[in-house]
């Protein structure tokens, strides 16, 4: 039997009737999902939802090479389910989350800890993996760190300077976003979406808009899609510039660090020129574009962008010209390609391990159906590679934006979305600057959110950082951490 028959297929940004999604007994469901993963599908989302007094599992997988997403669901059940994690480690955190959110026990899960809610259990020293031996010492960092950054807890098991194991415990930023969306969309929903991860405001709000448009059966006007693409690439440029500056700072290469700190702000100011907010709040709304970029403003945007991009490329160029900085990045914090695929890395972290994985390329929606950004891939998986992919993406996004400024579509009138279709499920993927953002929305019989599942790229990628530290000097943690620069609040929700 073709396994794919056991899934409903859809493209990114589409919706399906809930009852069109094939439903299988728990054991068949798990078997189908494993078979599909075995054939090379990638786990995009895996979550539970209540069904009467029981619960049900839903899996969303991606077949990247054929630009198809597939969805399946189990029959309602209670108690436990066989864990996919031992064979498919990319499922590990999804299963921990299912256990924490709905109490379904993944039998055979090797490291079943809560994810973000039950902090007393998460941060109890007893619940960390520990290495034994007279030479072993443990370094515990956070939740409050030395810099102006978000909170998280890191525990290193070290033999001298060498890190044998790093375990990362998060949850400190948990604000209850998924719960708050239930019964929505509410008036506050869009503002909560915009603050899932503040540095990815455009990414998450675009994923939300796309999910809602699919549920409402509305096609956003071309103009809105154009604005979203411009905003998304500006967000990418601002963050990549900031990250390369931060990496330079961590190897004490101050020229790039100083300049990039400022230039990052210049990119943010371009976002503010479009919508009035440096982080893109108010930029994206479901169904229409609240932004009207009239010719005068577009000309100013385009002119200031060219200057900012030149500054950014020059400042990062200094870093590449510095052999001692390059040498500090090489062969540090490497994750090899098979391991990256196994743990399900996404986004620039995946592309830095040689994986060809980019939603804009694999599952294009919106403006990316008409205009393509070249993919940036580098094979080595180390800090150098992650810096290099950022550098390539800055150039690609820069060229892309310069072209798009000349391709502004006509303003069309469009309506705000007022109601969503009942009993539908939509899947919306967006390539944010860190990687794949996934929103899965399911409506009830009244067209209100029955479940809204958010997966920030950091959810997939924190494990990558933990593994990158294996057998590295603990003093290399800062550059490894900056090279991933993952979101705490995007993970904690």
């Amino acid at each position: 039997m073709n396994v794919l028959n056991s899934f409903a297929l859809l493209a990114n940004g589409e919706a399906l009737d809930w009852n069109q999604i094939p439903e299988y007994s728990l054991s068949d469901f798990i078997r189908n999902v494993s078979e599909e993963l075995e054939l090379g599908a990638r786990m995009v989302s895996f979550f539970a939802l209540p069904e009467g007094s029981e619960k049900r599992l839903v899996a969303v997988l991606a077949l990247d090479s054929s630009s198809v997403l597939c969805v399946s669901r189990s029959q309602p059940f209670s108690g436990s389910f066989p864990s996919l994690t031992p064979k498919y480690p990319e499922a590990h955190l999804f299963e921990r989350e299912i256990y924490e959110q709905y109490g379904l026990l993944p039998l055979g899960h090797p490291w079943l800890k809560p994810v973000r809610k039950n902090l007393n259990v998460i941060q109890d020293p007893k619940n960390f993996f520990s290495v034994e031996g007279s030479e072993i010492h443990e370094v515990s960092v956070g939740p409050v760190h030395a810099g102006v950054i978000e909170p998280g807890h890191f525990r290193f098991q070290c033999d001298g300077e060498e890190v044998l194991h790093l375990e990362i415990a998060l949850g400190y930023q948990h604000r209850g976003i998924e719960e708050a969306l239930l019964g929505g969309p509410h008036r506050l929903s869009i503002h909560q979406i915009e603050t899932i991860a503040g540095d990815t405001t455009v990414g998450h709000s675009t994923a939300y808009a796309q999910a809602l448009e699919a549920l409402a059966g509305v096609q956003a006007p071309l103009y809105a899609l154009w604005v979203r693409a411009i905003a998304l690439e500006l967000e990418r440029l601002a963050n990549h510039t900031g990250d390369l500056g931060a990496l330079a700072n961590d190897v004490a290469f101050i020229p790039t660090s100083s300049a990039c700190g400022k230039i990052r702000g210049d990119f943010l100011n371009l976002t503010a020129l479009l919508c009035g907010n440096r982080f893109g709040r108010g930029m994206v709304r479901p169904g229409f574009s609240p932004i009207d970029c009239e010719p005068k403003r577009l000309a100013l945007l385009s002119e200031r962008f060219e200057q900012t991009l030149r500054d950014a490329l020059q400042a990062v160029g200094w870093l590449w010209d510095s052999a001692s900085s390059r040498a500090r990045f090489e062969q540090v914090g490497a994750v090899d390609t098979p391991l990256a695929a196994k743990i399900g890395l996404v986004g620039l972290a995946a592309r830095s391990c040689g994986l060809v994985r980019d939603v804009r390329f694999d599952h294009p929606t919106g403006w990316y159906r008409f205009a393509q950004v070249p993919l940036a891939v580098w094979p080595d998986g180390d800090v150098f590679s992650r810096a290099k992919v950022r550098w390539l993406e800055m150039q690609h996004s820069g060229e892309f934006l310069k072209e798009q400024f000349n391709s502004q579509p006509e303003v069309e009138s469009a309506e705000k979305i007022t109601s969503l279709a009942p009993d539908k499920l939509s899947v919306s993927l967006i390539e944010g600057w860190r990687g794949e953002i996934c929103h899965v929305a399911l409506t009830d019989s009244e067209g209100r959110f029955r479940r809204y599942k958010i997966t920030d790229p950091s959810f997939h990628n924190w494990m990558g950082l933990a593994l990158a530290l294996r057998n590295q000097a603990i003093s290399d943690f800062p550059i490894c951490n900056k090279s991933f620069n993952l979101s705490y609040c995007g993970f904690d929700l």
Binding site: V148, Q173, E179, T195, A197
Partner: protein
């Protein structure tokens, strides 16, 4: 007290459920474009070196203890500055059971700086106003 801090104010930042936008625009004041140091204000790594806290986020319950401990580690006299809509009232997360809906539910606040996030200029204006160091308009 503020007179005492007037020429050298060291602040420790704590994100307590902040989305990283307020944090980013606090950070940016330290860069060459703003050069906060010229006003005698500096972000420091340890609460032991600080004269006060800059708090962002609605104060997630999961950060409440860490925030209180950080506050306790700052020596007296000390100030608390709440930055951004979340830190002021909980912002879009107000009344969620997972948060305390603002810093003043947990610590005494001396200055509120509004915005989502506040523009760096707004933050700078707030800090200088608190220190009574805004230059008089002529």
């Amino acid at each position: 007290m503020l007179k005492m801090f007037g020429r050298s104010l060291k602040l420790r930042q704590v994100s307590a459920g902040g989305c990283n936008a307020c944090e980013a625009d606090i950070n940016v004041l330290g860069t060459i474009g703003w050069d906060l140091g010229r006003f005698g204000i500096q972000y420091v790594a340890s609460p032991r070196h600080a004269d006060g806290l800059l708090v962002t986020g609605p104060v997630s319950k999961n950060m409440e203890l860490a925030l209180k401990k950080t506050y306790d580690a700052v020596s007296e006299p000390k100030i608390v500055i709440a930055i951004g809509a979340c830190a002021i009232s909980g912002g879009p997360f107000a009344n969620h059971e997972q948060v305390r809906s603002g810093v003043d539910a947990v610590l005494p606040v001396d200055l509120y700086i509004p915005g989502c996030p506040p523009h760096p200029l707004t933050i700078l204006d707030g800090l200088l106003r608190l220190l009574n160091r805004l230059e008089k308009q002529t």
